[in-house]
Amino acid sequence: MYEFKTGNELLNLCSAYNKSIGEITILYEMETSEKSREDILLKMKANLEVMREAALYGLTRDIRSVSGLTGGDAKKLWKYTEAGHTLSGTHTAMAVAKAMAVSEVNASMGRIVAAPTAGSCGIIPGALLTAAEILNSTDDDVINALFTASGVGITIAYNATLSGAEGGCQAECGSAAAMAAAAVTELVGGSPEQALNAAAFSLKAVMGLVCDPVAGLVEIPCVKRNAFGASNALTAADMALAGITSRIPFDEVVEAMYRVGKVMPYELKETAKGGLADTPTGKRIKEELSGK
């Protein structure tokens, strides 16, 4: 009854039942898993708690990845933001700092929620936790918004891919930003249409983005791509909430992303053979690490 595979099907369900994307996704989950609403909400709450812990940990502790390549930048940005002189605005800078924090925690072998992947795990917590603080949202509202994110992610999983190895960074961090943008839009009270417009903006912004991890590790440029994913999501949500619509519908953007991923060369899809991984510095870092 609540099954959907595309954004359009999701919107039809939202309008037929007069419910949000988040709520339809909860109903879909109840239907397909045959579990109670309470069980499902609790499971998502566990995700929310891990996201919060990871963000806090990364913002307040001195962390370093196993390779030593990343860590400590989230804390730096957080301190800078607290001084109150940001150019991009306090909220954006906070969201970016949180996204980097979670991503750095991931690189340091801390506990995170794959959202949708480990490589893109900072974007949704960064954007959503920050929006929730601004809005004073209840946990129930934030959990609902996480279902909005997963509903959007489900449509991308069906019609494209969430894997960097298959579609490049656009498929990982791009999808995470799209999911975050939709989640934040519904959290603020935007309509399902606005949420999907926001998701479309986010994906369009990074269409073609390659996956080029230095030395093959989830660190450079992943932590910074997570940073920009969070600011991308907030910007997209603001645009959608202002009433701007995507001239190319969300489902077509997803399809385009998939096709772009298909024609993307192998060197630029997580193989660490192209892009930043293939720069003199990237190659030097790889050599240094393999000598360790």
Partner: protein, 221 residues
């Protein structure tokens, strides 16, 4: 086509940095440990492809060993598994190698202990999903997503029906089932992935079937 759950998209909760190189590796280690059953004294990990190239930076080594120590992919102690194993007196070694025709993220786990030597080969195929492809000399295939029954038996007519009859008696649904054999009439194996775990009583009944030489019930990881 696979039906996606919200928790495939947001989840799993895991120790970073990589769902395939860390979480998937922990799951392979964990399943290998379950297949072994008894006490392990030493373990060697033969790493292939991307596992061989990036295992240190991705913590694949710690994750595999954590799995052998029965930790799940979200266990905080995962990053300290090398020390924990040393304290427990378990010898371990990581050996980059080439495994013919294997998926890029593949490991062969060779365990020694009270049950002699058992080797398990598995691949981490993305997003934390894994597939176990070999136990000792036997090629097979299962994912560890479901309670899984593995039997070895003599390839004779009716053995499969006897087993499925017992499962049916427990009112348990079979999700996937595969049968493998080396040679007609010789050693064969059955992999049955179910929606629920078989009760011990049913496993004992299956053990009593005369063509069946061993039965393993592996809980999902």
């Amino acid at each position: 086509m696979k039906q996606y759950s919200s928790f495939d998209i947001l989840g799993p909760i895991m120790i970073g940095p990589s769902s395939s190189h860390t979480a998937g590796a922990a799951r392979i280690g964990n399943i290998a440990r379950k297949i072994y059953g008894g006490k392990i004294t030493s373990v060697r990990f033969y790493l292939h492809g991307s596992f061989a190239e990036t295992y240190r930076g991705h913590g694949t080594d710690r994750a595999l060993l954590a799995g052998i120590l029965c930790m799940d992919p979200s266990d905080d102690r995962l990053r300290d598994s090398l020390n924990i194993a040393k304290e427990m007196g378990i010898d371990f070694e990581f050996i980059p190698t080439v495994i013919k025709d294997a998926h890029p993220n593949t490991v062969m786990v060779e365990m020694d202990g009270e049950n002699g030597r058992i080797s398990v080969t598995g691949s981490s195929i993305g997003g934390g999903s894994i597939v176990i492809t070999r136990i000792d000399d036997f090629n097979l295939e299962f994912t560890g997503d479901y309670p899984t029954l593995i039997t070895s038996h003599v390839d004779r007519p009716g053995v499969i029906a006897k087993v499925t009859e017992i499962i049916k008696g427990c009112d348990i649904n079979i999700a996937f089932m595969k049968v493998f054999r080396h040679q007609k009439g010789k050693e064969a194996a059955m992999i049955i992935e179910m929606d629920y775990t078989l009760p011990d009583k049913a496993i004992d009944e299956i053990k009593k079937i005369k063509e069946i030489s061993s039965v393993m019930m592996i809980e999902p990881v």
